[in-house]
Amino acid sequence: MRGRRAWYRRPVADFDTCPHLTCRDLGCDRGGRPVVRGVSFDLPPGGALQIFGRNGAGKSSLLAVLGGRAAPTAGEVDWTQDGAPLARTPAERLAVLDHDGAVKPQLSVDQNLLFWKRLYGASREACAAVLDQVGLKRRRAQKAASLSAGERRRLALARVLLAGRPIWLLDEPTASVDAAGEALAADLVNAHLARGGSAVIATHHRLALQGEELTLG
């Protein structure tokens, strides 16, 4: 399912109405090459799915399909809300962590979050709180270019937290982070699930959390 998008919809950050995701016999290509075939899973509110696989197995391509950025070549992606099917991917309820992080190296940590704060309608206090949660409170004035790769990943995670949205699609949330960073990512996802949110995580490192697992390739 990849419904037509309305010209613009306001973001909805309501965990009580977290949509239910069901995929059946899903397939997708990358650059004309089939990478994912026959994938089926069910992700209820509060559920998590960790996707494993070697490089090029199609983890990111699968996340692109779930995020509505790419169309599946086979099978179906169904989003339902209280049993009723949604006509389109619920973009305004997704928080996406891309492999590249969406961090501007020229801007400070604060300035990076400022853009997303305006976009998500978040408060200044919320920005400070998420930076505290990911351990970047003391780096607020520092340019992102001078952060380590692991710290930039933490900044990207701070943006996902700031979004306050119920469905997380995370691509390699622990790439370049140390053991403490991996534990932090697992804690953040577990807290998100406890609030009633759901998460799909493509990763090479198994996170310590309850949920389904899927191995591609």
């Binding site: 995020g67 190296p105 020229q106 305006r118 949205r165």
Partner: protein
Amino acid sequence: MAGFVAFAGATLARDAAIAFKAGGGWLLGLVFYAIFVTLAAFAIGPEAAALRPNAVAIIWLAALFALQFAAADMFTADFDDGTLKVLASEQSSLLPYVIGKTAAVFLVSAAPLILATPAALSLFAVPASAVWSMTPAIAVGALGLILAALAASAINTALVGGGRFAAILAAPLSVPVLIFGVGASRLVLAGEGVWTADFQLLAASVLFLGVAAPGFAVLSLRLGLE
């Protein structure tokens, strides 16, 4: 509507911050414009009789190249660092983003260029009375040139590895703006005033680009992200 404006405004504010505070990217288009105009004036020579007839064509060509230079890569950074992928998944439409980017390029690159145009025209011995009357045509035309570059830049981003293909693509889209802009400016120089048929045609072509280019850019970006 508030969400739409907030999204466009956030994009404008972020791009302006990057250009003005981090790296001084806003200067590049203006410096290119100043160098082009100055070199052209030197090449033509010191006689006012030779400079004045060429003023309008030189100024418009300089504006066209400077704005294409400034706008050709307007989506590249967001594509490379993953911002576009996040926005394409999390937002129901990229239209506010594209409008915000256009506004940012106008503020950062076109506005300094418009402000510098009276000085550039004075290099070509254009009478002071005509200098300020020409500014509305340059301002409207600058918006049209940015919109043409917007569509071309989106295609360039969609075709990963397209290199400087955008500059070639933007050229034909810029032709109506260039023809009517030069025409409107020449009529100002001839004492016909600002609100001429050429100015109206310039405004109409910019209006057309304003309606078509953002939607076209959104479509191109979505296709490029698949």
